[in-house]
Amino acid sequence: MINRLTAPPQLTTDRSAQRYDDIRELLPDVDHPTPLVRVNRVAADLSLYLKLEWLNPFGSIKDRAAKYLLDGLRSRGELGDRELVEASSGNTAIALAALAALQGTRLTVTIPDGVPEEKKVVLRMLGAEVWETPDDMCPVDHPKDGAIALARSLAASENGTKYVMPNQYENPDNVLAHYETTGPEIWRQTEGRVRVFLAGFGTCGTLTGVGRYLKEQDPTIKIVAIEPQKGHRLPGLKSFGEAKEPGNLDWSVIDDVVRVDDEPAYDMTKRLWREDGLMVGPSTGAIVHAAVEYGLAPDEIAVGVSPDSGLKYTSYFAELLGEDGLPQV
């Protein structure tokens, strides 16, 4: 056994040396944005840039919302010694699980049916309890909102003494995260020249927060929402034909809605991997497909969100690939 006479040496955070005292210091802000990368090949005729949100420390755009949701609960004294419960298709839950673990708070996640196994395993690795919610659990409610209903009922049970639900769908802190970080980052990274912003319908924190910020800078910037079809398999995106519109959605900042089928979204995802070296998740494929279909002018700078990487969807991709990439003998 080693008896230490002095405290272990410690370096202080130095961003220029990419050295940090705490993983949370890697969360983005206007001065330390996530990268904006041009889509050079798949959208060669366009000035389309993707904001690579999967380079956040916990792997997705939801790192931003999770930080703001937790900070909001803490600053309002709403957390106390209660546990967290949240409905999520995975990314918010992963970010919440990591941040909650860092502060010693337990998290229960209600997750919709069909979320890839990879995400569920990541959540359990982070110490979260995962309640998978079948689509047909709430026959008298919105069938795709079972996870939200279950999280609400957990939060309300035991007179609300055990759990608190951040509720990313209705919590303005989700919108604020993107109004204060993602929006200003995009504005500065494009030198104020962004003309079109594209993101998917989901919790609508990104669309409303970024949309609101960009419209305040220049009301003529177009905000384009991407909506999947009913029964889709694009995790993180919501079709309002089968799911309730979240309270965070502000229609006044949305100029257009582009609907995307699964097949072209997955085809585009594969092309982004193979032609642009962008290892993105399926929702990015949907957003880029929508951007290409939208009819952007070649001289207008468009920014799409790339919410997460494809590494959490390899089981989906295995089905997509079939025999592709295997020796044909």
């Binding site: 919610t133 659990m137 709430c138 008298v140 409610d141 279950l150 009922s153 049970s157």
Partner: protein, 82 residues
């Protein structure tokens, strides 16, 4: 007059709001054998609609319901398909 039911498992979800009783009941039924009976106690009024719907969807048989004012008791026989 109620008939004698051989209960295999009991689950009390008193104080719990829907859809949590449905979720918990489905978890218990999943580990039970076909033909075994779950006695489920609920206090959420929504259960009167949700539990029979759940049993129908899962292919289970709702043997009996006892509405005791604020409390409802359901006896569900697990089916063969789930």
């Amino acid at each position: 007059m109620t008939t004698q039911i051989n209960v295999t498992e009991t689950l009390d979800t008193s104080g719990v709001l829907c859809p949590l009783p449905v979720y918990k009941a489905a978890l218990v039924l999943k580990r039970m054998e076909s033909g075994q009976v779950l006695e489920l106690t609920c206090t959420d009024p929504g259960s009167l609609e949700d539990i029979p719907a759940m049993a129908r969807q899962r292919g289970d048989r709702l043997l009996q319901t006892d509405n005791r004012g604020a409390t409802q008791v359901f006896w569900i026989e697990k089916g063969t398909t789930t």
